[in-house]
Amino acid sequence: MNLYFNSFDEELAQKLQTAANSIVPPDRDEVWAKISADIEESNRKAGIPVFRKFAAVAAVLILLLTAVFTVGDYVLADFRFFQTIKSAFCNVVNISGVTQTRDETPAVGDQKNENKDEQDGENALCSLGEARQTLNYNIAVPNYVPASYTLNGVFIKDKNSNLSPVELHYIDSVTGNELIVDECPISQVTSFSFNFRSNDAKTLNVEINEYEATLIYFDNTDLRILLWQTPERYYIVTANLDEEEIIEVAKSLDM
């Protein structure tokens, strides 16, 4: 039996060698460029003295504590609060945003009802006209989308609210890819969070009609996500489009 397996072992070693020879490694210079960028980034971070890092953390803590003890809940009472936070830790980038007003924070019971309604009407698209009738604000529609894309429908996230966030779903008739324009009035209580490894994605700061925006590009899926906020709303455009096209779609939004 051992002899039998020895011949199998030899065959296995040979087959593995052949399989390895047939593997085509990725472009070495491309990988080297990524490694160099990562090393450079690490060196840059390592260059920040520890006391400065502590000082920055301490400053944020002091600011938060001051807000809680001096202003308390009133900090949310009169002001609409919207914040986009970008942070990076161990190659993981987090981009998160939250909008909140104290008056509009739903009670736990309300939240349960909302969740139920959300499940009932999940993914139901309606026409742009219906959405405009339901909602109490002007839905911004892009004046430009690539020629092969057509509007498939509008998804109202919370049908009980006339300030509900909406998603405009466009579909590419050739590839079936979707282009989604997500918009949310800042008066609405909502939040979003993106986490991704900086190895898989590149981020770029761009400008959309004078507002600072973040463009995330995922290497693996060729997907781009563009996020920005105006004083009234935040917008997220998600699509498999190239950089210029997705920016053009965003800029064409009637904000």
Binding site: L16, I23, I35, I39, S42, D200, N220, T221
Partner: protein, 171 residues
């Protein structure tokens, strides 16, 4: 020669080989690329400690292999939409294995069908030519575990590659 030139030489010398070993273990090009990339980044951090040039290739392969295993585990929790087909290929169901038996199967397809812990040990033994003792030391596994995994991996692979012959014999 400065440190960065030395590191570039190290990268040029070993990248292809480390990538191939990792690709055999991960059975996924993207994971293999990312894992190999990470291994070189880790190597750069510990460049001053990598004195024994003979062991650098082994060290890089082990780091890349560990990275690949972590990435495969994470893929189970979060599957990028575009990679669903690839993930399906990583873990084949028993039905898939039975269906595949009807066709002629090459070694890469066979490797895809077995668990990554078996793939790793097969690659270390038959591709990198490690002894069982070296595998145990490198992967920090007890000798008994190395033996049993290797034996099990061989039986499964033989079953997949040569389905018509009897192999369910414990060595």
């Amino acid at each position: 020669m400065n440190e960065s030139e030395l590191f570039r030489i190290l990268f040029d010398t070993y990248f292809d080989r480390v990538y191939c070993s990792t690709c055999l273990i991960a059975q996924n090009d993207l994971i293999a690329r990312d894992a190999t990339q990470e291994a070189f980044i880790v190597a750069h951090k510990h460049l001053d400690r990598l004195q024994d040039l003979d062991k650098i290739y082994t060290w890089l392969t082990v780091v890349a292999s560990n990275q690949a295993k972590d990435m495969i585990k994470k893929h189970h929790k979060c599957i990028p939409v575009a990679s669903i087909d690839e993930i399906d290929n990583i873990i084949a169901s028993p039905t898939d294995i039975m269906e595949q038996k009807d066709k002629e199967i090459d070694i890469r397809q066979a490797l895809k069908m077995i668990d990554v812990k078996y793939r790793e040990i097969i690659v270390f033994k038959y591709y990198l030519g490690f002894t069982e003792q070296e595998i145990g030391e490198t992967l920090e596994l007890p000798a008994g575990t190395v033996k049993s995994r290797l034996s099990r991996a061989r039986i499964i692979l033989k079953d997949i590659l040569e389905p018509d012959t009897e192999s369910g014999v414990v060595l």
